[in-house]
Subunit: 303 residues, 4 copies
């Protein structure tokens, strides 16, 4: 089992869809190519930005295959297996590994209320059952669970995970984890605290907004690596303004998730990165006036 190095910019790719609702594999491949051309260090397929909770297995594996064919070993391909329980995670994980994933990203079990020791057992069982390394994913907005620092430390000690994607928004625990396990790569899922997380020791970035502006996050990452923190902060400020696209949709009309993920895709269509902005059911589409406001924010960000 090869353990991929986790560092740099690893965008959680959106999942382009065809008119019939299936994954547009050609568009997925082109997206992967454009990301690699922008200089990213890995690809993450089937993350929250990839509408993973709304993908069926066929869609998920098609997306992974397309990305893996493009990556062809040049950078690691991570794939999400986001399921409520251990057996389900294992079943899906095996399929994404068969489809070409180099590592599997998974959360704590959810829908149930687990104890920390059950969360630890969950990751250990997944790691033992599949033929690829596991990346733990802390995403309380989706799971209503936390991966607490002692849990992450124990997972690292047991060798159950090769890294952590932290989308908790909680820099206190982020920092405590880095104190406890300084050699575990921790990737931040934050679009808005990317430079801060890097300054505190994050190994890399998994920003959904990286779908829209991968060059921006690559510049930010490289500035941080070079110690040019003012440049990183300036890039972060520009990206923070761009991130307002996730809030243009009226949450009195569609859900926050649909508004945010629809905005990523709409911006990518406007930039010519993907051909179609459609999203999976049951998410509702953006309206033209919302897309127009996204176009305005893209222009403001120099895109």
């Amino acid at each position: 089992m090869t353990v991929p190095a986790l560092y740099g910019v690893i965008p959680p790719l959106v999942t382009p869809l065809s008119a019939d609702g299936s994954v547009d594999e050609k568009a997925m491949a082109e997206l992967a190519e454009s990301q690699l051309a922008a200089g990213v260090d890995g690809l993450f397929v089937g993350g929250s930005s990839g509408e993973v909770a709304l993908l069926d297995t066929e869609q998920l594996t098609a997306a992974v295959s397309a990305a893996a064919r493009v990556a062809a070993g040049s950078v690691p391909v991570l794939a999400g297996s986001i399921e409520t329980g251990t057996r389900r995670v294992i079943a899906t994980a095996r399929q994404v590994v068969a489809a070409g994933a180099d590592a599997v990203v998974t959360t704590a079990p959810f829908y149930i209320a687990p104890h920390d020791d059950e969360i630890i057992g969950h990751f250990a069982a997944v790691a033992a059952a599949i033929d690829a390394p596991v990346v733990a994913y802390d995403y309380p907005a989706g799971t209503a669970q936390r991966l607490r620092p002692h849990v992450v430390a124990e997972l690292h000690r047991q060798g159950s995970v090769i890294g952590l994607k932290d989308s908790s928004g909680d820099l206190v625990t982020f920092r405590e984890i880095l104190r406890l396990v300084p050699d575990l790569p921790v990737l931040t899922g934050s679009e808005l605290l990317a430079d801060t997380a890097l300054s505190l020791g994050a190994a890399g970035l998994v920003p959904g907004l990286g779908n829209v502006d991968p060059e921006g996050y690559v510049r930010l990452y490289r500035a941080a690596k070079d110690g040019r923190w003012a440049d990183a902060a300036a890039e972060q400020d520009r990206l923070a303004r761009l991130f307002r696209i996730v809030s243009v949709a009226d949450t009195g009309r569609i859900g926050f998730t649909a508004g945010a993920l629809g905005a990523f895709k709409a911006a990518m269509v406007l930039r010519g990165t993907i051909p179609d902005g459609r999203v999976n059911p049951p998410m509702l589409p953006l309206q033209q006036d919302e897309i127009d406001r996204i176009a305005g924010l893209l222009a403001d960000a120099g895109l």
Copy 2:
């Protein structure tokens, strides 16, 4: 498509497991038989009490098949398709229908943050895609979503659902739903407010504790139907004392879900209803002292 009548006691069956972790189909069939012998009016396989979030598809369909073979049309068999998104719900729903389910129980999408109109679209899409009727399931403890009264009313108006399982614990919305759609069967998932829900117009009961004491809930239901409310309340009080089994486990050691579902199974083993109390990973097992306390509570309840 046949629409089953939803009323009476429809216990959400636990899923008995073999030593290798697969579903013990013989035990599942015997459990179904014992429930029918106790006088229940339906069987619900793959609910929260059935560890649905922790079952893989093979386990789920095996459990449904075993129950459906026993029911053989005498009472409806409901089966859960508890998945985060529309396509996933449809895929699993088709499998439980193929395995013999008469209706499919499903929640709002979760992990994502949907708008009410997206929740409505979700149920409509599921109903349109499968060859069985749909029962909506409001379980905010698992999904962090609510099915609000106007949503349920619209689902009924559209013909997307044939009933509601309400496990919200919120009698205000329960009652508002009954005012808005008096002809929609609403089943309560509450173990502790069964008589109250019936007095307010619930069509039936889906109590996890009914795995342990089906006769108790059947008596409670029949007393309510006969207008013997004091008898129903006395039975409810007895069952409330018995329900303390879900709290014997130390949540400093195992999760609340593991403690509660493990307690149901442990009590059933003690009563001879199932041969083995094991639960799915990552849930931890009860300890002997906890099982002993469950035995005491069974004795106190006259079981």
Copy 3:
């Protein structure tokens, strides 16, 4: 120390204000009179419906005095001392008792995160320090704390409280409390489950909507006492429709509390019960179109 009997309808009175923001004591007295004329069994001044969190001590004691003068011992006058900590509760409680309150209503400490034993100690300390009996108030929407059944039972055992006002919305704990301490008067704060709570053993009702339609809740209570449950339910259904006045305001413009308490006052002005609907800062006033919709709902309810 006289212990007032707690039963029947005890409305949490709004606090009428003059143009200068002080309490309109004449209006307060007239409100108390109209409530007594409607047949209520007690008056509660300085509850959540009375804008207690927004009243200064001078306002609170003026309101209590006005009500106490009208009641003149004919029914008990309860007064709220809603403060974050023990010493503060005691200081305010002494003032409302001096102003004529027969009992003091207070919550768990809030702003801090107390242990159940600290909550128990809080009520014991308040009871020991003041010259009036204490009613415990469970209002998690305001305090983010719960008064759990074992806490209430211990408070009763110690003699620290003479009753409970339950505004938790949780009938499971409500019922558990009545099982543990059947001789403790429990009043429900629910406008919408009044008949249900009475059927389960509540001693009385503390409905904010009783400001608008005291006769309705008195009829509901008397029907319940007479065992005319269908009549009680019909009255409850009518009151549930009337309760929609709390939701007419646009929470995109003003807060939920301002919308609800403003609606009570606006409806009372429309009915001629109080002369002025103004509320305390920082709550914003209702707009005319909102008041017009309230008028429509009053008419629908036959008022």
Copy 4:
């Protein structure tokens, strides 16, 4: 009205108590002196660490007076007026100003559910009513409200506040506020992200742990001001280990607040800064074994 400069280390002082429960004014004065000797840039009396929610007015004003006498204009003295509503905040604020406070710290209204525009109106009304400047305090753990960036920006535009104390733990909004109002002094209440907040533009620190180790936070602040970020981070790491004192108490026995505030006082007694570690009711005291563990953590931190 003089506007104090807000920057540097401004510890939220604990409130030392005498055996009779009143404020030990001598101990309060000595605490203020020891903090000034450590090099702090201001004193904050009646903050959350000062048990403000549990202080009555007499205690609060005694504590403010004692600190103001010591400060004698050398550094600003901030005082909390933590009350649920506008009139209450104004009443208490006037008293702390009379007692010598140079500025008043207050939160959004709580217990009620306000709209952002009502929060803005609240601060405007307080600022207009008192003869001292106002510092906004964002403390959702206590109030269940947030001061959102656009609210803070509007308060600054109106001149209603001279600064913000941010105890939200949310660096995304912290950073957005600094982008919107770069000239508003923002103080962080975080013990654990002090260096990070300074690197992002915070004007200063309000750490409860500064009661125990003011020299540590002064060193951290000065390192940050000098651009010695590695030194600041090393100091932060040391203080993070020391901060574990807030978690030694068993929250199965006493509340989190009692455990944390009791730990500050216990550590100060061990260090000789205050003579007595007692806390206000209803908080329970620490036990000797817990105090012993605090002593161990002090030793580990070199204190």
